[in-house]
């Protein structure tokens, strides 16, 4: 049992440390004792806080390219004798054939179910005997596929051998494909017992319509349709060295690593890879409210959100800071208001994401059924407040210091450093992107936050999803607009009479 359960946030990264207070954050001295803080917190201002923000600098990743075009990035980290390597194939779910949603995802998952020289069982036994991990996945609307393996550095050679084998020589045996399909179909059923899944499924559909990002899981018809040949074709088309980046972090030097990579990946054949057009997110429909009936629920899962930004948007830093003010962590408005002040929930957060198409900006919480109304009121209050009122200067500085200050902590998380490097590569961000990240955060103004809120927290197109006891949730939410009712299978329940004939 924890005091808070934090959702994952992409945190930054870097290295090297110089103690400087060049960033004018958190100036202004300690507030007076007993000063009232934001809703849900009382600020006495007596604790000793060092106003200097530790400035940290990104470690330079070492880079090289093999003759076949495979780009290699290494971040040495010698504290403990382990490593993680990630093959980023620059094609994912967005490359799925029409009506074959899940093709990239299945291809990835079935890599380890058999190669030219190893059976599924061989691979499992060998990976586990090394104490290693080997996983592969691709999202239904992802631009990439990731194959990741971590292990003990004394086993680097054997782990690389397995890693390269599943990436280069998978056979997608028919029997394994069949087993996997039947297991996936069973999981499609059992995931519907999870209230958060039902909420996300509806929310994504509401925002994305017919865009691939509307799908929370592959449709059963797509799963049934897939064959060994489909997977093998996808693999041979997209898994090519010139369409991939190999990122490695750990207790290894480039001098040690390079000959091994030449051995395992040097003769991997390059090929022309078709370019995939990224479909833009659709125009947003008017604001809608969806209630999903989940019999037996004692909480309402509330998700409210809008279309956000692309990862490369010039508004990225304004949204980053605005999101931190709104609900990016436990020191943010939603948590302090809905939990610390009202006691409606165990947690209330917001988050945003974006890739090569616009992502979402989502606020969410799980609240006991009889405070659904109060929770909705506070969500709307906070969304409106961020849009209508300038964020107080001290709160803005706190949000920025929270983001910049956490750079120091990320130095102990080599894998998060690696993810930053990968992000910079995938989105073609400037080489000094992470070096200058703190300055970009520090430059965000009160006006920037409000402008971002008004632009992206577009309440005319706000989509609201509530999963729980429909009878109660519907009565509350109908005060905010017309409610569309769905059952837990995701099917619309039409009209008030139709509820008995599901």
């Amino acid at each position: 049992m924890k005091i808070i359960k934090k959702r994952s946030h992409a945190i930054l990264a870097l290295m090297l440390i110089v103690l400087v207070s060049s960033l004018a954050l958190g100036q202004g001295g300690a507030p007076a004792p007993q000063q009232q803080g934001p809703k849900g917190a009382v600020i006495k201002g007596k604790a000793p806080v060092n106003k200097e923000v530790l400035k940290v600098k990104l470690p330079r990743a070492q880079e090289t390219t093999l003759k076949n075009g495979l780009r290699v990035v290494l971040l040495p980290a010698h504290k403990v004798p382990t490593f993680t390597m990630q093959m980023v194939v620059l094609s994912g779910g967005l490359a799925d054939k029409p009506d074959y949603h899940g093709l990239a995802s299945f291809t990835a998952t079935l890599l380890r179910e058999g190669t030219a020289k190893r059976s599924s069982k061989d691979i499992s036994e060998q990976v586990d005997a090394l104490g290693a991990t080997l996983n592969a996945n691709s999202g239904l609307s992802s631009t990439t596929t990731n194959v990741t393996s971590g292990g003990l550095v004394e086993n680097l050679d054997q782990t690389l051998d397995l890693f390269a084998d599943v990436i280069r020589n998978p056979t997608f045996p028919q029997a394994e494909v069949g087993k996997y399909k039947s297991r996936m179909l069973a999981q499609l059923q059992s995931q519907r017992s999870n209230a958060q899944f039902l909420a996300s499924e509806q929310f994504q559909k509401a925002i994305y319509g017919s865009h691939p990002a509307a799908l929370a899981s592959p449709p059963a018809e797509s799963i049934k349709r897939l064959t060994t040949k489909d997977l093998a074709d996808f693999h041979s088309t997209y898994y090519r060295p010139n369409n991939a980046i190999l990122a490695v972090v750990g207790d290894v030097t480039m001098k040690e690593l390079l000959p091994k990579l030449e051995k395992y990946f040097g003769d991997w054949q390059k090929a022309d890879v078709p370019a995939i057009a990224v479909p833009p997110a659709p125009a947003q429909s008017e604001s809608r409210i969806y209630v999903i009936d989940r019999p037996g629920s004692v909480q309402t899962v509330l998700q409210l959100g809008t279309l956000g930004i692309e990862r490369t948007s010039p508004d990225y830093f304004a949204v980053l800071v605005a999101d931190r003010v709104l609900g990016g962590g436990p020191a943010s408005r939603l948590f302090l208001n809905l939990r610390e002040d009202k006691g409606y929930t165990y947690g209330a957060y917001s988050n945003f994401g974006g890739s090569k198409f616009r992502g979402t900006w989502l606020s969410s919480s799980e609240v006991r059924t009889n405070v659904t109304e109060g929770a909705m009121k506070e969500f709307m209050y906070e969304l409106n407040r961020l849009r209508n009122d300038p964020v107080p200067m001290e709160e803005l500085e706190n949000a920025k210091r929270a983001i910049i200050g956490s750079f120091a902590l990320s130095l102990e998380q080599p894998n998060s450093l690696l993810q930053n490097v990968i992000t910079q590569k995938i989105y073609n961000l400037p080489a000094d992107y992470w070096d200058t990240y703190p300055q970009k955060v520090a430059a965000i103004t009160v006006q920037d936050v409000q402008t971002a809120a008004q632009k992206y927290l577009d309440l005319d197109h706000l989509q609201v999803v509530a999963v729980g006891d429909a009878a109660k949730a519907r009565a509350v939410l109908s005060k905010y607009g017309k409610v569309e009712l769905y059952d837990a299978e995701g099917k619309p329940v039409t009209g008030s009479e139709s509820n008995n004939n599901k």
């Binding site: 808070i4 007596k46 586990d128 017992s193 009936d293 599901k502």
Partner: protein, 455 residues
């Protein structure tokens, strides 16, 4: 030569090097710590490490849900939430804001056997971390308003984790059925009724009894000079008065004589689930480590016997997993399988029992023993990477076993496990009369999707 940060000294071990699969000698890492006890009984352990500009502070209190009395289940954890609602010099919620707004991270956690609090901050905020922890150890603000607020938050935590989740109540039932001694017979989250009954007097009494310096271990890891940091720790904590030692909890767990079994109907579940537990031994004992190896062979990873049999070969379950639970008192080996539509719990049980019989009759394979040891080694080593994880782990080992050095020698204890040990503990603990089984069946609950009124 590899670069090694100052606090980690390279240590070559030969135990694993003999395995033919190892290409190079494995390097081990060691955490050098310094132990001090303040005059008021607070144990202090420091690990100086300049590899990143970070300090991690953990305080582990020797109290958990095992210390709760009947009628107050869930109280230790509810109390933990109160620790974030302010003290003499810190306002309600200010702790959370101070840590996160300075780029840090923090949390508090409660289990059966201990309660811990921790924060990790940029290294120039050491004074802040010490102030936050000492102020609340010294002067917790106990008000009815704060209690009601966090009671609500904790009851939502229970709804989120138990009452609104498929199988939530089954896990709770398994624990109640498995144990006889009240200490472990109830869950840490507690019952709604007991949470509602907790009073401010309970909070004040609990604080005085358990949140005393002589009932806690402070661990500081990170970028500081030990002598200077120790002086600061003394200044912040040494004046907090010692309290009488809290009462010892009787952890005696009687021998189980026959199988225990229950079936629950769950309106939230879509697939049947089989959950098993075999009552076993406390953590950090030779049999515990042998049972950990056994659990890995049986059900960890895709190479495990139950995954191969139940998921792949027989196609009866969508997933299977489990672990040997580490407790100060009697722990148990757990195994949980989620069934596919149409599969029968009794068929799944029969296969699990057949696999357990095989563990009793035949030694495990070389690669299986190697898997258990390598996996443990990797997990333990990765746990040494961050300051926070070291601070939390050392605190736990000290409160659990009075053995902070376990952070360095735990791997040896796992490496000492033999195939014969695995076979022996299978025969000793994985027996029918020592088994507790909870089956969950999905319950259809047809119900109108809309009804006339709102409440």
């Amino acid at each position: 030569m590899r670069r090694v940060s100052k606090f980690l000294s390279p240590l070559f071990v030969c135990a694993l090097a003999v395995l033919s699969a190892q290409a190079q000698a494995p390097r081990n890492v060691r955490v050098d710590f310094k132990e001090t006890t303040l005059k008021n009984g607070l144990r202090v352990i420091t690990v100086e490490d300049h590899s990143a500009p970070v300090v991690a502070l953990s305080i582990t209190y020797n109290v958990g849900s095992r210390d709760e009395r009947k009628g107050r289940t869930g109280f230790a954890h509810l109390f933990e939430h109160m620790m974030f609602k302010g003290s003499e010099n810190i306002g309600s919620g200010e702790h959370i804001m101070l840590v996160f707004n300075n780029g840090g991270n923090m949390n508090g956690t409660t289990n059966e056997d201990r309660t811990n609090y921790f924060e990790v901050l940029p290294a120039n905020q050491l004074d802040l971390a010490l102030f936050l922890e000492s102020d609340r150890m010294k002067s917790l603000a106990i008000t009815r308003e704060n209690l009601d607020n966090q009671r609500n938050a904790v009851q939502e935590e229970r709804r989120l984790g138990v009452d609104n989740q498929p199988y939530g109540k089954s896990s709770e039932r398994l624990q109640e059925l498995l144990y006889d001694n009240f200490a472990y017979k109830h869950t840490t989250i507690g019952s709604m009724e007991d949470l509602s009954a907790a009073s401010v007097e309970d909070v004040a009494e609990f604080f005085k009894m358990y949140y005393a310096p002589n009932n806690a271990v402070l661990v500081l890891v990170g970028d500081f000079k030990t002598a200077k940091a120790l002086a600061k720790i003394r200044k912040s904590f040494e004046s907090i008065p010692r309290q009488p030692d809290p009462p010892k909890v009787d952890m005696t767990e009687p021998q189980q004589k026959e199988e225990r079994r229950d079936t629950l109907n769950d309106v939230l579940a879509r697939a049947p689930r089989v959950a098993l537990a075999f009552k076993a031994v406390p953590g950090n004992t030779p049999d515990f480590y042998a049972l950990q190896v056994l659990a890995g062979v049986l059900q960890s990873g895709q190479s495990s016997r139950l995954y191969q049999k139940l998921v792949r070969e027989k196609e009866l379950v969508t997933n299977v997993g489990g672990f040997m639970d580490e407790k100060r008192g009697t722990g148990a080996l757990y195994s949980t399988s989620t069934l596919r539509p149409g599969a029968k719990p009794e068929d799944v049980e029969a296969i699990i029992y057949a696999e357990i019989e095989r563990l009793k009759k035949e030694p495990i394979a070389d690669w299986e023993l190697q898997k258990a040891k390598n996996t443990t080694r990797r997990n333990l080593i990765n746990g040494l990477e961050s300051s926070l994880s070291r601070a939390v782990t050392i605190g736990q080992y000290t409160v659990y076993y009075n053995e902070p050095g376990l952070i360095n020698n735990r791997l040896d204890k796992v490496a000492a496990v033999t195939k014969e040990d695995v076979q022996r503990v299978a025969n000793k603990y994985l027996v029918d009369t020592n088994r507790t089984v909870v089956i969950t069946m999905p319950q259809a609950k047809p119900r109108p999707a809309t009804s006339s009124t709102g409440q």
